[in-house]
Subunit: 456 residues, 2 copies
């Protein structure tokens, strides 16, 4: 029947360098600005937050950034991750499309996030840092940094958005098993948190608030740094192992994608799978359609404004130009999955403006329907975030059937859903609401955008 | 630092045949007896329960049983599974031991159980079966058969022990996402279930009862068969892919185990990792110590009686000679993990009687302590069942340190614990009780053993 087609790379084929799309951009991305002066930030401005190696990765224009051997060592635990041809799904869909998916759920934390967590933990350890502070929403990132911290002997503290903290005790337990400390955000441990709680003691929290708390605490001690799981250039850079492996695996398949689909929250797994292919195109290679898929409940790319905005609610971070819903954005209560951040990675936003990628948004019941169809056909149960990519890929495959055309579709299945069964239960019970993010709330959040012009 | 050492096999190295230890036994295992006549059962007696190919595998004396290509096809999704050298754990333990572990959590269901679920689904589909009925305790087996059923187009119904059904809704949701139907056992759908409920409407259930329900229902329809996730010879046979791959992987490491440790519930993952090595020894190869580790709350190998007993509570199954706690055994309420079956696989029991394996039992807090230590060192969070093997391996490694001897220790990490975080939370909260299975209850359960002699 030949229904399982796995493209398998020897561990010697784990990339030796990450791919930096900044080297190939036709126009550089807008500068990151200091929140006070509105002038471009320099490395020293960021030094309280990150070790210098990561700051340099944030701005480097080199095409290849070598992956340190100790990071590749840890990658070897689960990398190269498998690339599959989804033959059973193709059969169910009766499509002439060739559907490929990269599967990142094989990592110990169950998602793509360790690709950058391990690198960040390594560079911080090398810089003598003892403690990392971060935030997490659905929990994929927090689990991954907890995992990486355990391997590199770093203390890890995680501000977990309160609604997730309460709803997902098992995610929390995973972080704690790795030895991390998990705190519900907004918390009483920071000024930012106390200010929010003073207004609303039952505030459900948001990623923007949790980032404020983490940043505030991180800058207070020399042995402590901040870590972010998406959005920033260096995070996207680390995820390119994904796309680089996929290129090699598709060579084994003697194929090349016509369409790449990725889900987008902050943008890191999307960048990881897509950037190496977009880079090849920019250097004269084959043109590939790239589709970013986001939830209609958190539609930064499809309904946000492209403008300078803060990364957090308390406005402690630098200003970056990105597609944003406004830094006061709180995802609506009916939204079940991750992908909850108010902004989009500046590099992903920039590519959108350059016309190198498209974006589309889906409501959640259709997304879960696609995930269940995928699980029954391919045997892997995706995380709710990954279901967005699955839905996008299925729609492309159905279009192939309707047009009678065979295209190669590649997507990233960024994690398994074993910690997300409540959302599946809600889906089966008909409890998932299908609404878009509210128009009036959106207008209000956007009205709060700072008025900052791009430097000449 | 060279801390991740993974032995990696190309998928062409997935075994082409399972290994059958019956071919190499110095003395054959006692016959399986008909529950009514107490005479050895023939293939026809088992035909209402299983397709003929599986019945023949139950009794074959051939050393190698070819793995059908469609089964290998599905295996390719995650096989060969990785074998790791646990260098970080060795460092934490300051042991001269060389610790290796095979990791089965990479399968889509997260454990070793799909190795046999896929094979069983295939043979049933080939035989024209439309529906499989089974039982599950902690849920690893039910998830795996649901997964395999989805791939081979079979309806799957699962009787889930009520206490797990109530405590583990997410396991249930996983089975349902794969399209299976999950019923709390004891249920009103069978005579066996109704009889139990009549006596105690709040009965927590047991694997023995759930097996009775599944068997009762399976024999009622020609298009329906029964499936079991452990204990039987053919199930153990299918799991030998594990040990066969490990032999090849340890050859790459230029090493061979001095000690093999496996956790035992029904015995299938233990047999999977150990039988190929024991077989090599029986054919004149190197002697290897083999240690079966079980919970002191369900101590069939260490405190059970070696006698003929039923596989289920309602006495619908054939009689097998095994280490048993009595078919009315219900695991005590304080026991958190899996490994809850009253009996041990007849082949594993037979090896114990032949002196080819040892057995030891642990209380649960020590087992979870070992699991947390492993997670922090190696980055993988084990299932509670797997923690028994981890604890056994750690104890062997500590002994190496104390004796100043470097031995090679191999164990099977049979699954990840992502569905078992409640048990970890209970462990951290100090809620796990450390007790052995009650002596008086044990005596009572054993008093109910049928008095059946081994045929001459």
């Amino acid at each position: 029947m030949n229904e399982t087609v796995k493209y398998f790379l020897d561990e010697s084929r784990i990339p030796k360098a990450w791919y930096n799309i900044q080297a190939d951009l036709p126009k550089p991305a807008p500068a990151v600005l200091h929140p006070g002066t509105h002038k471009p930030v320099g490395p020293d401005d960021l030094a309280p937050l990150f070790p210098m190696e990561l700051i340099l990765q944030e701005v480097t224009q080199e095409r290849e950034v070598p992956i340190p051997e100790p990071v590749r060592e840890v990658y070897r635990q689960w990398r190269p991750s498998p690339l599959y041809r989804a033959r059973r799904l193709e059969k169910v869909l009766q499509t002439p499309a060739r559907i490929y998916y990269k599967y990142e759920g094989v990592s110990p934390a169950g998602s793509h996030k360790p690709n950058t967590a391990v690198a960040q933990a390594f560079y911080n350890q090398q810089a003598g840092v003892k403690r990392l502070i971060t935030e997490t929403g659905a929990g994929q990132w927090g689990s991954s940094l907890a995992f990486a911290g355990a391997l590199f002997g770093l203390d890890v503290q995680i501000f977990m958005v309160r609604v997730s903290y309460d709803q997902k005790p098992y995610r929390r337990a995973l972080m704690e098993t790795y030895g991390a400390r998990c705190v519900a955000s907004p918390s009483n441990e920071t000024e930012s948190g106390r200010a929010i709680l003073a207004k609303d003691p039952n505030h459900p929290g948001s990623l923007g608030i949790a980032i404020s708390e983490a940043v505030e605490l991180a800058v207070q001690r020399d042995d402590t740094k901040y870590a972010l799981g998406s959005v920033l250039n260096h995070v996207l850079l680390h995820q390119t192992v994904l796309g680089l492996e996929a290129i090699a695996q598709l060579e084994m398949a003697d194929d090349y994608p016509d369409v790449i689909v990725g889900c987008t929250g902050g943008g890191s797994n999307f960048a990881g799978i897509a950037f190496p292919f977009i880079g090849a195109q920019l250097r004269g290679g084959k043109t590939v359609r790239v589709v970013a898929v986001e939830p209609s409940a958190c539609p930064s790319l499809t309904r946000g404004t492209y403008a300078y905005d803060f990364g957090d609610t308390a406005h402690l971070t630098p200003l970056t130009k990105m597609h944003t819903l406004g830094s006061t954005f709180t995802p609506p209560g009916f939204h079940a999955g991750g992908l909850r951040y108010h902004g989009m990675a500046p590099l992903v936003s920039h590519l959108k403006e350059l016309g190198l990628i498209e974006a589309t948004a889906y409501r959640q019941t259709k997304v879960f329907e696609a995930g269940v169809q995928f699980a029954r056909a391919e045997g892997i149960l995706p995380a709710p975030e990954a279901n967005h990519a699955v839905k996008g890929a299925i729609d492309e495959a159905v279009r192939c059937r309707e047009e009678g055309v065979s295209r190669a579709i590649l997507f990233n299945l960024c994690g398994h859903g074993h910690f997300d069964m409540q959302a599946y239960m809600d889906y089966f019970a008909g409890k998932l609401e299908d609404r878009d993010y509210d128009r009036a709330e959106l207008a209000m959040a956007l009205a709060g955008l700072p008025s900052v012009a791009e430097p000449a």
